[in-house]
């Protein structure tokens, strides 16, 4: 780790503090865009230089062109809409379920131990293995996708909440207890804010897992959405079309993350991880 790395973490790193007024560091967005451009360049080069054949992995420019064509098609937006619908409903269901169960189970030592083995058993079961069950229950409709999305993203949030609940500061908890805050009030005012950073990480993980599962389910089951379009493009041999859709998937992921970051900054402004970036 460089000196830079060390100072960058303190509340007010001197070298940065001093440099800032003179030559403004590139803003966050600029750096982010630079990162994306770097990645696209690499992607452009790999097929062009011949590391893999452009026939199998088309260069970035070609894929982007295909994506731009897609942007003009309603069918594309319908598919995006279907996928996002499954994503949003599934994610919300998973979060609600995981938060409720996580707080209940997390705050009781007994429940924690009691459910531990079952949780550990169920967690690694791949959603894809549940496809026959999902189809059996719901057919090739959005409900099947939902079931898989909820199942997979539930655990992401649930585990994070368990850890977050365990991270409550004793002094803060005792303060709350001594002021007569009841169990519900303590959850609301102490446990929840403490677990919030964990929860946000969990939600961010779950948001992309939900997207992955929504697409995978559509891909494997064939329920409507981007995933089915990918499968169609794939089985039709439309390689750049397929990568354009994959690119679209990734972009959706980036957008989702931006939104999540925004929410996080709003809700966690008091947290030291955010704090240290606001001051100075």
């Amino acid at each position: 780790m460089t000196q830079e790395a060390v100072t960058a973490n303190t509340a007010a790193p001197i070298p940065r503090g001093r440099k800032q007024p003179a030559k403004k560091l590139p803003s966050k967005q600029l750096l982010g865009i630079a990162g994306i451009i770097g990645f696209l360049l690499l992607w452009e080069l790999v097929p062009r230089v011949g590391i893999v054949e452009p026939r199998f992995l088309p260069p970035a420019s070609e894929v982007i062109a295909a994506l731009i064509t897609d942007f003009g098609l309603t069918a594309f937006w319908v598919a995006v809409g279907e996928t996002m619908l499954a994503w949003a409903i599934g994610l919300v269901m998973a979060i609600v379920l995981a938060v409720v169960l996580g707080f209940i189970i997390g705050s009781s030592m007994f429940l924690r131990k009691f459910t531990n083995s079952t949780v550990e058993f169920l967690r690694p079961i791949p959603s894809v293995a549940l496809i026959p069950l999902a189809v059996l229950l719901f057919g090739v409709k959005i409900e099947s996708t939902l079931m898989l999305v909820v199942y997979a993203s539930f655990w992401q949030v649930f585990i994070q909440v368990l850890y977050g609940v365990a991270d409550v500061d004793n002094v803060a908890m005792q303060t709350a207890k001594s002021y007569g805050l009841g169990a519900m009030a303590r959850v609301r005012h102490v446990v929840f804010p403490t677990a919030l950073p964990y929860l946000m990480t969990g939600i961010r993980l779950a948001a992309s897992v939900a997207l992955i599962l929504a697409i995978t389910a559509e891909l494997v089951i064939g329920s409507p959405g981007l995933g089915r379009e990918i499968a169609l493009a794939q089985s039709g041999g439309a390689i750049s079309g397929m990568y354009a859709l994959v690119l679209a998937t990734g972009l959706i992921g980036v957008v989702i993350n931006l939104v999540m970051r925004f929410i996080e900054r709003k809700t966690l402004s008091w947290h030291s991880s955010i704090r240290s970036e606001v001051i100075v």
Binding site: T2, F121, L122, S272
Partner: protein, 257 residues
């Protein structure tokens, strides 16, 4: 006595659930939901034999390699990205992009680049389970207590010493939360990696059972996955207890009474 208590905790809920399952499958028979007895039979027949050596062990081997690499990559990258702000800004969108790509569509690309090899399967596993470790490490590093960080700073604790004495322990609880997720995602990806371009392995076998409608066998394979998951998680929790001894002491000392 203590052992019995632990055993009770481990077995109580599973037993209750199996009982419920047994009771609810008593009357009708659904082709896709076998009874516990049928499943147990299929389990014994399917997995106590050469399958362990030919399918299960190689899969577990790839899983372990993948998970361990993911943990190392996740922690190292997380430490860097978490402590260097410009690096975080630079990489975040690209990482988010990759995180959103479903492994099944990543497989063909990896196959192109790496061939149909174990390396490709390991890469699929890494590509999926590095995220929880990475994200949690980044968050953990960012959340270090200011006073503590200042203390280390004034005592001239820099570079590697800072990582070792301050950053890693402090981010430890969150990194551990990430690793725990990583384990089960790894197992899921092990199956996915064997769904494509494969001819053996635990995941492949399960998918094969599924396709050939050997339903009890398929469920028994899922049980195997679950059991591996439980085993991994118990190993993990045992390790965590030791690594985060201070943390559990700190948190539980007063809850104990």
């Amino acid at each position: 006595m203590r052992f019995l208590k632990t055993l009770g905790y481990v077995l109580a809920l599973p037993l209750i659930l199996v009982a419920i399952w047994w009771a609810s499958t008593l009357g009708e028979t659904n082709f896709f939901v076998p009874t516990p007895a049928l499943l147990a039979e299929a389990f014994a027949e399917t997995w106590f034999g050469e399958r362990i050596v030919s399918d299960v062990l190689p899969s577990i081997g790839r899983l372990v390699v993948g998970v361990v690499s993911a943990i190392i990559i996740g922690i190292v990258a997380g430490l860097l990205i978490g402590s260097i702000k410009w690096l975080r800004d630079l990489t975040e969108p690209v990482l988010e992009f990759f995180r959103a790509i479903p492994p099944p569509v990543l497989v063909p690309v990896l196959m192109l680049l790496m061939g149909i090899t174990d390396g490709m399967k390991v890469a699929v596993i890494i590509s999926g389970c590095v995220w929880p470790v990475l994200l949690n490490t980044i968050e953990g590093v960012r959340a270090i207590d200011g006073v503590l960080s200042d203390s280390a700073h004034t005592y001239g604790i820099h570079g590697w010493a800072r990582v070792k004495y301050l950053v890693l322990p402090s981010a430890g609880p969150q990194i551990m939360a990430g690793i725990r997720q990583c384990l089960s995602i790894g197992l899921i990806l092990m199956v996915i990696s064997e769904m494509f371009a494969s001819s053996s392995g635990l995941g492949f076998t399960i998918v094969q059972f599924q396709r050939s409608f050997a339903i009890p066998e398929m469920w028994s394979g899922i049980v195997v996955l679950g059991l591996i998951g439980v085993a991994l998680s118990f190993i993990f929790q045992w390790t965590e207890r030791r690594v985060l001894r201070w943390y559990h002491g700190l948190r539980e000392v007063e809850n104990a009474v």
